[in-house]
Amino acid sequence: MIARASRTLRAVVTFLMALGCIAALPGAASATVYAQIEGTGSTWSELIVQQWIADVDANGMKVVYTGGGSTKGRKDFAQGSTDFAISEIPYQGVDEQGQADTSNGRDFAYLPIVAGGTAFTYQLKIGNELVRNLRLSGETIAKIFTDKITNWNDPAITKDNNGRKFPSLPIKPVVRSDGSGTTAQFTTWMDHEYPSIWRPYFGQSGLTSYYPKHGGLMISQAGSDQVMNTIKGYAGNGTIGYVEYSYPVNADYPVVKVLNKAGYFVEPTQYNTAVALTKAKINQDKNSQMYLTQILDGVYTNPDPRAYPISSYSYMIIPTGKDDPRMTTAKRQTLADFLYYSLCSGQTKAGPYGYSPLPLNLVQAGFDQIAKLKKADSAVDLTDRDVRSCNNPTFDGKNLNHNVLADIAPQPAACDKIGEGPCGTATGTSTDGGGEGDGTTGGSGTTGTTGGTGGTGGTGGTADGGTGSAPGAIDPATGAVVGGDPGTTTSGDAIYASPTELVAERTGDKSAFGWLAVLELLALILLPGFFVIALRRRRPSGHGGRP
């Protein structure tokens, strides 16, 4: 209760500070002239960027952002057709084909804008009930996306879920068809953690922005939103795909809890992402073009039980050239102020939207990068825009060396430990906990749901409902959830007891009986004719025999 009260208090304070920040900006706006800036790129971070754009619109800043994928963003920026780009991975220098992936000589700087977890969202129904608490280890995920595990009843999946069985249903991985930073993040992780699974499938080592699709049941779709649409669509049963955590959160869809090094299955909430990223190494070489880009090796193997392994940052690529053909003072000012809002107050929205706020060191470095805009054009006004006045939820102004979010991140529930559980709580959103355990009739293997009158999982559900307003905030492990858990497990097991599938016919029968049917049909048509002909032939001979 106290924790919640303090959280509400903090929310109120941040809100007031955000108000103050917004109120302070028009003063700057009246002095400065804004001009519309345009950017393209990542769909991974598009949701939060669009929210920021809506927020700053009232201050006279017009920002236009279109998704389309990180690869497109980098390309557009290099061709000088946009003012900024957002990408998950930096310019690769040379892509796999030996084609240049550079900025074409345009001066630029990377600037981290938001952190988040690459989540695996899925649609898996048992009866008519959506499974909401699937857990998978990294190895299982890698095998699913390389066509090694192709059915939901695979023993590896059952093992990850502590013996809980899923129906026999083909797994249909949904991947991106366009050049995507999400794909790049995901394949980086696979290449680093499971090279023996990933590399034979890919045929080479390293990351790729274009997911290799080798037939199978894989479905490819363009853009994160299309991937999400496919998974939550009417034909989505059995699908699993990778998108930023915000997409399933907004769509009210579950995400996979991924096993981390500490042996816990965790969800990519803002806390778990922030904790994982405390181990991210940042390229600190200020002279390098890759300054501030991420080295995530430590994140994948972060030993903290709260860490979500596939966490990463998204970057904005901003033009820093003095004589950049697209940039003007007004545009630089707009970009600077937009970024100031994004790095500070804007980060308070990251959590509820399914992202994670940037920690202090990155915000500080971000300010250094913004300063490059002033270096390029001294008319850009950057007064009163520094870290102390920044209203970022990961740090307080007094102690700048502490990541508040990582400090307050709740420990995972005991039932999320490997070999325990599974927990009855839902992932992705926390609207309805323990839904899948409701009203089982036991062992019949049919749907057997009774309209969600909370049976055993009811306690978990109410516990979740209390904090349901902030979808990203996972409910800390409450006694109720853990206590309610054995009930869900046992009744859950009853549902999935024997997901046997009966085949309508034996495989060899079809063609044989098909030919038989064809023959019979032919006989039906032809035999009477033949019979008549035969009769006629006999009759003349009979006539001939009479005289």
Partner: protein, 336 residues
């Protein structure tokens, strides 16, 4: 005595030389019109030359394998259009097999059966269909039609699965829980949306031709005791044969190049297949639209090479259409 006026030898009386050369205002008009007409040729030719020029590096690099390779993986240096070409043809064929009967019967109803009051409404409604943007048809197909089309696909697979065209791999139409996603995002679903875009165009051409049937011959047929359907069969359809074929071919040309709706509905996959009910497939135009944004220079050349092939095919279809229409000139069938 009268005498004929003598021919004055000095004056040379000859008929005025007739010149076919236009002079004055006429000349200006003729030349300007000629220039305008020529621009069309120049533009079309320019498109072809530009595409061909851009495609050259790709064609030189990959040679014939560009036409025989199915997969499109520029990052692995494997690029080919065998899959997208078959996909393009499949989607267009599905679209035509839906749009053609619809367009023909709509055109016949409008020109022959519809009461005068409904006629104008129907004509404007069909024209309105042509005005609906392609992205709207795509969304319509994606959200409204696809679920039902998938059910239809299951039924088709169940009953006609022995026809290779209607077969769906890795899916059992008789299963208790049918894997419906294998039947969605297919060329069949995309073809339905494309059919709706093709229909108004084909219908307009056919209707135009049917309405030009000589009323005398129609009345004669009726006077000889033909039923209305008999009259249509013996007069209207033979008279409009050129228009029917021309409308269908024009629609085919459009169906081959339709982009956004296909991009939205079809889940991109690169394999040569005629199984239209099965998930996945790709067409040339949707490939270009999908990959254009993040293409590097050589990838762009490959995309333009694919576009060049599509351009040639469309040109061929339209030329054949024009030839057929010219050979079977409207009304030829009735002039006995």
């Amino acid at each position: 005595m009268t005498s004929l006026p003598l021919q004055d030898a000095s004056t040379d009386v000859r008929p005025r030389t007739i010149s076919r050369k236009a002079t004055g205002v006429d000349a200006v008009f003729v030349h300007s019109i000629r220039v305008v007409g020529a621009t069309v040729l120049v533009i079309t030719g320019g498109v072809g030359v530009f595409l061909g020029w851009q495609a050259l590096p790709t064609l030189r690099r990959y040679g014939w394998s560009f036409f025989t390779e199915a997969s499109w993986q520029p990052e692995a240096d494997v690029v080919g259009i065998a899959a997208v070409l078959t996909g393009t043809v499949c989607v267009a064929l599905v679209a035509m097999s839906i749009a053609f009967p619809l367009a023909l019967s709509t055109a016949l109803y409008i020109s022959e059966y519809a009461p005068a009051r409904i006629k104008s409404i129907l004509v404007s409604m069909v024209d309105l269909m042509a005005a609906v943007p392609s992205i709207i048809w795509g969304l319509w197909g994606y959200f409204l039609i696809m679920p039902h089309a998938a059910d239809l696909s299951v039924w088709l697979d169940r009953n006609f699965g022995w026809i290779p065209f209607f077969d769906v791999h890795d899916a059992d139409p008789n299963a208790a829980a049918i894997d419906i996603s294998r039947y969605s995002f297919s060329m069949f679903c995309a073809g339905i949306a494309v059919a709706m875009m093709v229909l108004p165009m084909s219908c307009a051409v056919m209707r135009q031709v049917f309405s030009q049937t000589p009323p005398g011959e129609k009345e004669a047929a009726l006077a000889l005791g033909a039923t209305r359907w008999g009259m249509i069969r013996s007069v209207v359809l033979p008279f409009g044969r050129g228009g029917i074929i021309g409308g269908a071919m024009l629609g085919m040309g459009r169906a081959l190049g339709e982009t956004i709706a296909v991009l939205l509905i079809l889940s991109p996959s690169f394999e040569v297949k005629g199984r239209v009910l099965e998930i996945g497939g790709n067409t040339v135009s949707s490939l270009i639209a999908g990959r254009f944004g993040d293409a590097s220079k050589s990838q762009l050349s490959a995309l333009l090479a694919a576009g060049f092939v599509l351009f040639l095919i469309t040109l061929l279809v339209n030329t054949v259409a024009a030839m057929i229409v010219n050979r079977s000139r409207s009304g030829a069938g009735t002039e006995i």
